[in-house]
């Protein structure tokens, strides 16, 4: 599904990724762990195509295609989804309206018919139930005035609606209390499927108690330093990143 080879990238002028190699298979949930400044968020940004990050060397192939050659919207339409660490507010734009347009852009790309307002409403209500998000949030402007937990849940709702094949969760646990963490994790778990790969980027092992990964990769100083099964996360919790 995703093949990253010898990836070097800079954030601004600063080299952050220094030869990262990683393979993610369909159906797998891979956790990317690592200390502050190791390049976790840069990896998320590079994969989603954000401005300000430059790939200087290496390649990323996604479903056999050159991911780096695509614009951010092309990547999204091809099924790459980034759950933002800091979801952005868009005043005056209704949550439902926003998501309907996004889904239809994706469907159009896939050659599927666009959903009308009625069909979409049915779908989003279903998904809202699945990720336990209040229906009242659907009618509010995108993320405007949402609490931290609501914002993160809204990201998961978008993911549920857009049904990506590669979901990147960037520090989804940051700023969540224990109850919110549980609901968000349940939402994510409900979206696990054999066709979908997930890249769960996190600082703490805590999240992985709820979203149990198939693989754990430790990112340090811009390279994958170690890889292992879910038990690696527990070990890190004890020993820390610097061994």
């Amino acid at each position: 599904m995703l093949e990253i080879k010898n990836l070097h990238a800079t954030a601004g002028d600063k080299p952050v990724l220094k030869g990262l190699t990683l393979t993610v298979k369909a159906g797998e949930v891979s956790a990317i762990m690592g200390p502050n400044g190791s390049g976790k968020s840069t990896l998320a940004h590079v994969l989603s195509g954000r401005d300000g990050f430059k790939v200087t060397q290496g390649s990323v192939h996604y479903k056999g295609k050159d991911l780096l050659a695509m614009s951010p919207e092309e990547r999204a339409r091809e099924g790459v989804f980034l759950a933002f660490q800091y979801p952005v507010e868009i005043p005056g734009v209704g949550n439902t309206y926003f998501l309907k347009n996004a889904l239809n852009a994706v469907r159009k790309h896939r050659g599927q018919p666009e959903l009308d307002a009625h069909e979409f409403l049915k779908l989003i209500k279903e998904k809202a139930k699945l990720v336990q998000i209040a229906e009242t949030l659907l009618n509010r402007p995108v993320n405007e005035g949402f609490s931290g937990g609501e914002k993160k849940r809204n990201e998961i709702l978008q993911m549920a609606v857009l049904e990506p094949t590669l979901a990147i969760l960037d520090e989804t646990d940051s700023g969540l209390d224990i109850d919110a963490l549980r609901t968000v994790s349940e939402g994510v778990n409900s979206l696990r499927s054999k066709d979908r790969a997930m890249l769960v980027i996190t600082h703490y092992q805590r999240l992985l108690n709820y979203i149990v990964p198939d693989r754990v990769h430790v990112l340090k100083e811009g390279v994958i330093e170690r890889s292992g099964g879910k038990e690696l996360a527990l070990e890190l919790e004890k020993t820390g990143y610097s061994r």
């Binding site: 954000r50 401005d51 430059k54 919207e73 507010e89 734009v93 926003f98």
Partner: protein, 497 residues
């Protein structure tokens, strides 16, 4: 494409914008000689067969104007206008005045059709939608069509007359309802008011007149569509709307002009009068030619609009969407004289490429418990400069007056500018005045967020801008709101790579 390339592709990049109403109608014109002097004023008045009192009024204005200086306080810059180098009257040649809508020159009819304004009356029954989809515009809108210096048609006149409503061109009103015109004209914007209003008072050629009698709610939207077609011609129209006690009306105004390299002057005056318990809702979608991407050509839009809430509990609402014109200088205002009267101003102003907009409002609170609301949304793109200028004045006897002002600016790119000049003058200690202002750059964050969800940059910008304007768009009549959204996306087309 590497990611570095995509950086260059982002917010600053500008491409040519598309101005769809920019065509010229080939039609024979009846023009008077170029220039401005007393003889020209007399000639205009005689062309319109005006009564002596009106000519006198024009001449007084003209003489007053000679002693006035063009204002320089606005945040707009343009070369000196040579007032002698323009035509002050140009009308499509007509053998005789068309008696019915069927007799309108086909060229003119085609022009309005192309602009989506039907010059005919449709027999559409309530609930029978789309009976004539080719007509393009919604039913239940009466149109007065002003082409250069004259009104060429007014629809639904007879139907409105049944309710006692007068809706006609200003020229017809002068002939048919001289007492009403004489009573109210200049009562809100006197001929001495300001340089451009005074010029207008001297040389105005046409416009619309609406009179809603006591207790009548106007059953349909009234609208005037202003079209400048002739070259080197200024358009100087006057609109006067009077709502008697308990009357209410919603009025819409649209404007377009061909694309030309020379600048053209449009100096209009609009006066609104609302008596006790009357309501006037005045909505504008201004789409005069804005000039090309290098700032060449375009309309200078110097307009004086003022409403007088003369009666108790009266209400005047100005809603404007200003996307066109090279320069906009316009401050639709309310004089809140009647106790408990309400003045509202909702504005979206766009300055793209080299457009300059200096617009806002004045709310003058005279009566007790008068209330005003100002919502201004300025969007700047390209090299555009957008200024909000607003004054809230609360006079001594305006016990319990309240004002709420909110001015938000949105910047697209880093060559443009947004400026805010709120003036406050509060002379009564019981007044409550609130002012909120914000300036934001259309976020790279917001754009990326939308694109990461699969939306194109263009769609994302439209969505963000429309969200920004929502508070104002929701004040527009339904059909107009849709039109305004479309216009907004055309106006900003290409302003973000």
């Amino acid at each position: 494409m590497t990611m570095a390339d995509k950086n260059d592709n982002s917010i600053e990049k500008l491409v040519e914008q598309d101005y769809r109403p920019g065509f010229v109608t080939a039609i024979e014109e009846d023009k008077i000689p170029k220039g401005l002097n007393e003889d020209i004023v007399r000639l205009i008045s005689s062309k319109k067969n005006e009564p002596a009192w009106l000519l006198e009024w024009r001449l007084k204005a003209y003489r007053h104007w000679l002693g006035m200086k063009e204002p320089t306080w606005a945040n707009v810059h343009y070369p000196k206008i040579n007032y002698q180098d323009a035509y002050y009257y140009s009308a499509p040649k007509m053998k005789k005045k068309p008696k019915s809508l069927d007799e309108i020159d086909p060229e003119i009819r085609a022009t309005y059709e192309k602009l989506g304004i039907p010059l005919k009356e449709q027999e559409i029954l309530l609930g029978v939608e789309g009976a004539d989809p080719a007509a393009g515009a919604p039913a239940n809108v009466a149109v007065d069509a002003v082409f250069d210096s004259v009104s060429v048609a007014t629809t639904y006149k007879a139907k409105l007359k049944e309710k006692g409503i007068i809706f006609c061109s200003f020229s017809d009103a002068v002939q048919e309802h001289p007492d009403l015109v004489r009573r109210w004209m200049g009562s809100v914007v006197p001929y001495t008011d300001n340089f451009f209003a005074t010029l207008n008072s001297a040389v105005f050629t046409d416009g619309s007149f609406c009179y809603i009698p006591r207790g009548v709610r106007c059953p349909m939207e009234l609208s005037t569509y202003f079209r400048i077609n002739a070259k080197e011609t200024g358009q100087f129209e006057r609109t006067l709307i009077v709502a008697e006690e308990g009357a209410s009306v919603s009025y819409l105004e649209g404007c377009t002009a061909p694309m030309r390299d020379e600048n053209q002057l449009h100096a209009a005056v609009v006066e609104l009068v609302a008596l006790d318990n009357a309501t006037i809702k005045y909505s504008t979608v201004q789409n005069w030619y804005p000039g090309d991407k290098n700032g060449k050509g375009g309309i200078y839009n110097f307009v004086t609009k003022r409403g007088h809430c003369k009666g108790a509990n009266s209400r005047i609402t100005w809603t404007q969407v200003e996307t066109g014109s090279a320069i906009t200088w316009k401050y639709p205002s309310c004089i809140l004289q009647g106790d408990n009267s309400i003045g509202e101003f909702y504005s979206v102003a766009v300055a793209n490429n080299y457009q300059q907009a200096d617009t806002g409002t004045k709310m003058i609170h005279l009566g007790k418990n008068t209330r005003s609301t100002i919502i201004s949304k300025g969007i700047s793109a390209g090299h555009g400069q957008n200024t909000y200028r607003g004054a809230v004045k609360i006079l001594q006897r305006a016990e319990g007056a309240r004002n709420y002002s909110q001015c938000d600016s949105l910047l697209l790119g880093d060559q443009c500018g947004a400026h805010t000049f709120p003036y406050l003058d509060v002379q009564n200690p019981t007044a409550q005045v609130e002012h909120e202002a914000s300036t934001s750059k259309i976020g790279e964050d917001q754009l990326f967020y939308c694109r990461q969800r699969g939306l194109s940059t263009e769609d994302a910008v439209n969505m963000i801008v429309n969200g920004f304007c929502k508070q104002v768009f929701k004040e527009l009549p339904m059909e107009f709101a849709v039109e305004a959204q479309k216009l907004m996306s055309v106006s900003l087309e290409g302003s973000v790579g």
